[in-house]
């Protein structure tokens, strides 16, 4: 008999008033890392909110461990979410914040402190753990959110755009952590609007657009489609013009444009380009504050998928 998937939805729909955010979504997610890929506004966050019991389905069914999710304490005790929103009890320290949330899983203060400390070690935040969250950088706040998600050792972890605003080093740490959780047999669902980000964590993806899952399967097939489109990378760096001059010598870089906040690199070969940016910054002592990929690359692919008649199962 076929084994039941860990996460299942059946004709799942979610409306916000007259706006449909999820439209008849049927999917199955099994242990390991799964990427949830789609442009901003595609419905990724809504799907995560329904799957983590933050929202009730308007129609259809969503289950984890074969159980309905909404107001289900059993499910809540075994899942976690690193939300996209930058929300905290700002006056708390990271240690207090994570300890408090672990205590709500029924652990004593002492147990919770030990678990919180371990989680903060994993995200490498121990040095600043006793400082108020309001004093943290964007990357540190992102890692604090991740720590609260993994501290109680959940079986299923949802990470909503976990790499947003992180620097290259922080990004690498988070990716390693996700890979390690997947290797340990955890079910990790990572959402992103950047294919490159998802690709660094898993080859198993769900493509979502306009509230529908439009493809699922292996990332290679999607990669072939996206490679046909120019890819842009935004780099917020000190001395952007000097860094731009340095980058111009890289064969993977197509063109470079500057704006008030940094520089925008266009490439048709993203992987070596993503590798070159931190390497050059490190070698020539540039400080990268932010490295993002706007979702226009993906939007182009989604236009192709939705208007070009692309059908389900990219891997087949």
């Amino acid at each position: 008999m076929a084994q039941q998937a860990l996460i299942q939805t059946e004709k799942l729909s979610k409306w916000y008033g007259q706006v449909i955010a999820l439209n008849d979504v049927t999917l199955e997610i099994n242990p390991g890392v799964t990427g949830l890929l789609g442009p901003n506004g595609a419905g990724k966050s809504t799907l995560m909110k329904v799957l983590t019991g933050q929202l009730r389905p308007s129609n259809g069914d969503a289950r984890i461990f074969g159980q309905p999710i909404w107001n289900n304490g059993y499910v809540m005790s075994r899942i976690a979410l690193c939300p996209e929103q930058d929300a905290f009890y700002e006056d708390m320290t990271a240690m207090e914040f994570v300890t408090y949330l672990v205590r709500l899983h029924g652990y004593t203060t002492h147990e919770a402190q030990k678990m919180a400390l371990r989680a903060l070690e994993l995200v490498e935040l121990t040095e600043r753990k006793d400082d108020p969250v309001k004093t943290y950088s964007k990357g540190m706040r992102q890692r604090t959110k991740l720590a609260q998600a993994i501290a109680h050792d959940p079986d299923v972890v949802f990470l909503d755009e976990p790499l947003t605003g992180t620097d290259p080093v922080g990004r690498r740490k988070i990716i390693d952590l996700v890979l390690e959780m997947g290797d340990r047999g955890k079910t990790v669902v990572v959402s992103s609007h950047v294919l490159h980000e998802v690709e660094s964590m898993t080859s198993n993806i769900l493509l979502i657009n306009k509230g529908r899952v439009i493809a699922d399967g292996d990332v290679m097939a999607i990669r072939q489609m996206i490679d046909g489109h120019p890819h842009s990378i935004f780099v917020d760096v000190d001395r952007p013009r000097d860094f731009g001059a340095l980058l111009a010598g890289e064969p993977s870089v197509g063109s470079i444009a500057f704006d008030d906040e940094g520089l925008r690199v266009m490439t048709r070969d993203p992987n070596p380009c993503y590798e070159a940016i931190p390497r050059l910054a490190l070698a020539h002592n540039f400080k990268i504050r932010r490295l993002t990929s706007p979702d226009n690359n993906l939007a182009a692919v989604f236009r192709y998928l939705t208007e070009g008649g692309y059908k389900q199962s990219a891997g087949t």
Binding site: Q54, R56, G73, M76, P83, L101, G106
Partner: protein
């Protein structure tokens, strides 16, 4: 499927309630808002000190007036409004509610834990300044034998009133997910408006806090009372007023907890 992978910890409602209560009480008491409202709640004390320095020397009359017309009429509902509503609304608007909903915590425990923390904060902020105000008033003269009893009754009625008002404002925030307008309407229209209407004033929390604190002057029989045909002021037993305040607190908290657990908050 790994549904048998790990035993789930059994967590009692009381333990969760206590965890939420203690955590949010601490942050409530240490917040900037608490400092501002503590200063505002010192108004009666400042008034008492000024009174002490003046020539008029009827300290107890002054004390009663301050507690009845300043603390009970304005400071108590104002402080409860700033803590009761935001107890829930700040979690929703600040999007931190997500973290609480992601735990195996029953939603009533979240609501009640936060409501109790807000109520205790309100009680501390409102009732504590009454003590020095009383002693300054006594120093101004006019203290009689019943002074200490009046102080004790005033403190207890303010504490019970804190829980009652905060419950209503918390419930309104659970229902409307935005508290300020609903709270202002409740206080300004219902509480304030009815408090001037003979007979109907008995339906307000303000009346019962005053009555429980023995602050209603039965000799004060007004024109409106006579107009509606009352022969004598309405006399409600103090115990009944406590009962009414506790009933409002329990019912409003229960309503808020039920609404909060069923409602879906989009953050």
């Amino acid at each position: 499927m790994s549904s048998t992978a790990m035993p789930v910890k059994q967590i009692s409602f009381g333990t969760l309630l206590a965890t939420i209560f203690t955590t949010h009480l601490r942050s409530s008491l240490l917040s900037r808002k608490a400092i501002v409202l503590a200063v505002v709640n010192l108004l009666p004390l400042i008034g008492a000190i000024l009174y002490l320095m003046s020539d008029a020397k009827s300290g107890m009359t002054f004390y009663k007036g301050m507690i009845e017309y300043v603390t009970i009429t304005f400071l108590l509902p104002l402080t409860a409004m700033f803590y009761g509503g935001p107890a829930i609304v700040e979690e929703i608007e600040g999007r931190t509610i997500t973290y609480l909903f992601l735990r195996p915590v029953s939603k009533p425990a979240i609501f009640l834990g936060k409501y109790l923390a807000a109520s205790v904060t309100v009680a501390v902020l409102v009732a504590l300044p009454v003590l020095p105000t009383y002693f300054v008033a006594v120093a101004a003269g006019g203290a009689d034998e019943g002074g200490t009893q009046l102080l004790a009754q005033g403190l207890v009625s303010l504490i019970v009133g804190s829980f009652s008002y905060t419950a209503v404002f918390s419930a309104l925030s659970a229902v409307f997910a935005r508290s300020l307008l609903a709270s202002i309407l409740f206080w300004g229209v219902f509480e304030w408006g009815l408090s001037f209407v003979p007979v109907l004033e008995v339906g307000t929390q303000k009346y019962h806090v005053r009555n429980a604190g023995s602050l209603i002057d039965l000799g004060n029989f007004g024109f409106l009372d006579k107009m509606v045909g009352l022969k004598a002021p309405i006399e409600v037993p103090i115990g009944a007023s406590y009962g009414a305040l506790i009933a409002v607190a329990v019912l409003a908290a229960a309503l808020g907890a039920v609404v909060f657990s069923r409602r879906q908050y989009v953050v």
